[in-house]
């Protein structure tokens, strides 16, 4: 990467005070929704239309209307909460674990491991993310495992590079060298001294990856490669297209799914950005 000069006092776009509170509240709302959907099973019969009429507008029978098979859109939206957290959580978590793990090892132990993983990361990053996701989805068949695997495969590189750079930098720090000289074990150094330094960094990356994953799910569902048996907001958006909701003046499905997705993305984004007080760009 091209190096940039270190920034010292760039006005921070991160939210403060009221904005932060709002973001937390919003996230809390989504978490509550996911809880209702998963633990309490609210709306988990979304898949059956029952006797409801098709394409109902929001009203008494169905709060958010029904879809082309008479299925309740409100139930689908709620279940979508849970799906979003599942997809975002696993995908981002996997990317973090893989990327940070490899980054730590790579940055700490110079040598063939470092060169090999670096080479692998360059190969992965050379392929446009969406293309790699398509390839993996084609190879594994459309569905949730393919989605999550594909996203992890694409996102680990960013985390890896940052963690590796930080590790290399910190390795040269005074206190680390002292600890080594005193005979401390690598593992304890890594976990006790380095890891806490990374947490803010990792939090930012987790947020980015989370948002990226749920957005990628929307794109894949639209392209017909999503998970067919899950209720997700991406699937709702895709169905709004294929059943031409807008052309028939049916605004509710697209709006509900888009706003739900945007709300979650915005709150996670805001929170993860505010996790870092000062921006530090690093040289690689």
């Amino acid at each position: 990467m091209i190096s940039l000069t270190q920034s010292r006092s760039i006005p921070d776009p991160a939210a403060r005070g009221k904005g932060l509170l709002l973001a937390w509240a919003l996230l809390g709302l989504y978490l509550f929704g996911a809880l209702l959907a998963s633990v309490f099973g609210l709306g988990d019969d979304w898949a059956s239309g029952g006797d409801r009429a098709e394409h109902l507008a929001p009203g008494a029978a169905a709060w958010l209307g029904t879809d082309q098979l008479g299925r309740d859109l409100a139930a689908m939206t709620l279940q979508g909460c849970w799906t979003a957290f599942m997809i975002g959580g696993f995908a981002a978590g996997g990317a973090i674990v893989l990327g940070a793990g490899l980054g730590l090892l790579s940055g700490w132990y110079h040598g063939w491991l470092d060169r090999f993983v670096l080479w692998l990361s360059t190969a992965v990053s050379a392929i446009p993310g969406i293309v790699l996701i398509l390839v993996i989805a084609a190879a594994m068949g459309p569905g949730l495992p393919a989605l999550i695997t594909a996203f992890i495969a694409v996102s680990w590189v960013g985390v890896y590079r940052i963690v590796r750079a930080e590790t290399r930098r910190l390795r040269e720090e005074e206190y680390v060298r002292t600890a080594l000289a005193c005979g401390a074990r690598t593992r304890s150094i890594l976990s006790r001294h380095l890891l806490p330094q990374f947490l803010p960094l990792i939090a930012v990356q987790f947020g980015l990856a989370f948002v990226g994953a749920i957005q990628a799910e929307a794109v894949l569902s639209f392209l017909g490669l999503g998970a067919p048996d899950l209720a997700s907001w991406g699937r709702m958006i895709a169905e709004a297209w294929t059943w031409d909701d807008l052309g028939h003046g049916r605004w509710w499905r697209l709006s509900a799914a888009s706003l739900a997705l945007a709300g979650l993305a915005l709150s996670v984004q805001t929170l993860s950005q505010s996790g870092v007080r000062r921006r530090r760009t690093s040289t690689c």
Binding site: I2, S3, L4, T5, S7, R8, S9, I10, P11, P13, W119, L120, T122, A123, V124, A126, I127, P128, I130, V131, L132, L134, V135, I136, A137, A138, A139, M140, G141, A146, T149, V211, Q215, A218, V219, F222, L223, G224, L225, G234, I237, A238, A240, W241, L246, G247, L254, A257, S258, L259, L261, A262, G263, A265, L266, Q269, T270
Partner: protein, 424 residues
Amino acid sequence: MTAPRALAELSRRVLRLAMQALGVVLLLFLILESGVAGDPAERALGDRPSVRRLGELRVELGYLRSFQAEALRLRLRGAPARLSLKPHPDGLQLLALDGSLLATLPVKGISVTDFAANLRTLALPQSMQIDAELRGEGTGILPASGLRDALQSSQLAIDSRLPAVLPWAEARPGWQRFFVQCGELLRFDFGRSLDGQLVGRQLRERGLRSLSLALPALILSSLLALAAAIFSARRAGLPSDRRLLRLGASVIAVSGVSWVLLLRGVFAAQLEWFPVVAWDPPSLGSLMLPILIWAFLAAWPDHQIYRHILLSESQATHVLAARARGLAPRELWLRHVLRSASAGLLAHFVLALPFLVLGSLILEQIFVVPGLGAYLVDAARNADAAVLRAATFLLALIYLVAQETGDFLSSRLDPRFREAGGPR
């Protein structure tokens, strides 16, 4: 730089490029071929595919060196009955209707003629008899794995009403497949897709079409983003800057798919200011709406990045000195900040170029543009390995070359980026 040094650096870069390209090929091979994600042939054909189709597809994909769909034609005589054939390490197993094992015939090291004779003379209950007729050129000693390779993950049954054919295959070892693929890709021999068209030609034609959508969009979005970034950077920290950033974050948070659906619904379907499908006829006019939408969506993330670059540069020493000297803000920005930021801005712009060939998958689907994005999506849906491999390789190669070139150029242009050890 002196000539030998330049040559040395060039060859170093080319070597690095080659290694990275090889890495991409290896990665593609592992994903598409090695069964890490399941058997691609099965993947393409779905559950319970036929023996013949599986075999033919495996030959196309390079798994099998040869596949003979009809080594033996079998017919079951006797009571109305049905037998299943299953390959087993010991040979060929014959199972009855209820799944019980009737016989196992060894296969290893026997010639096809002898195997046919074995089938004919097999004693089966209920006066069943198998007629085995030699087909094609099944001669010679059977490779031990031949039947297993041919029947892998498929079922074969014979019943007294229908004839069945017993196939034979010769597998190609994995490492050999990899080298064949390497050679083909590096020679740019991309083969034909599942619908019979030449992949190389399709990539070229469709890439150009995607480019005609993507390039104007990139230019437009960069201009918009730059203008907004200058505006933001000059008012950094002020409420207008914050509002713009918040707006940007909100726009980015909404899914691109939703934006495209909404904007198309309003501007093309409702108001009819733009055509509903692009590329008919192929002209900038028909592409206007997709270009505008792309520019709008791409401008916001670019705005944030450009703002950051400009702000970093505006904190640089020479800029602060100029400001201390009392230089007017406009001149300050134009002469000092933009100039020193230009390397970073340009780098960001150039890095986006290789992705242009890809076009936008969403826009191409919705506006029916026959570009590279649409090609890839179709290939992914059909599990068309040849297309996916070729397209991915090509895109990665373009990106790597662009990256190396960009690196090379910036090391020439900006003294700050010269590699250590080079003369100034």
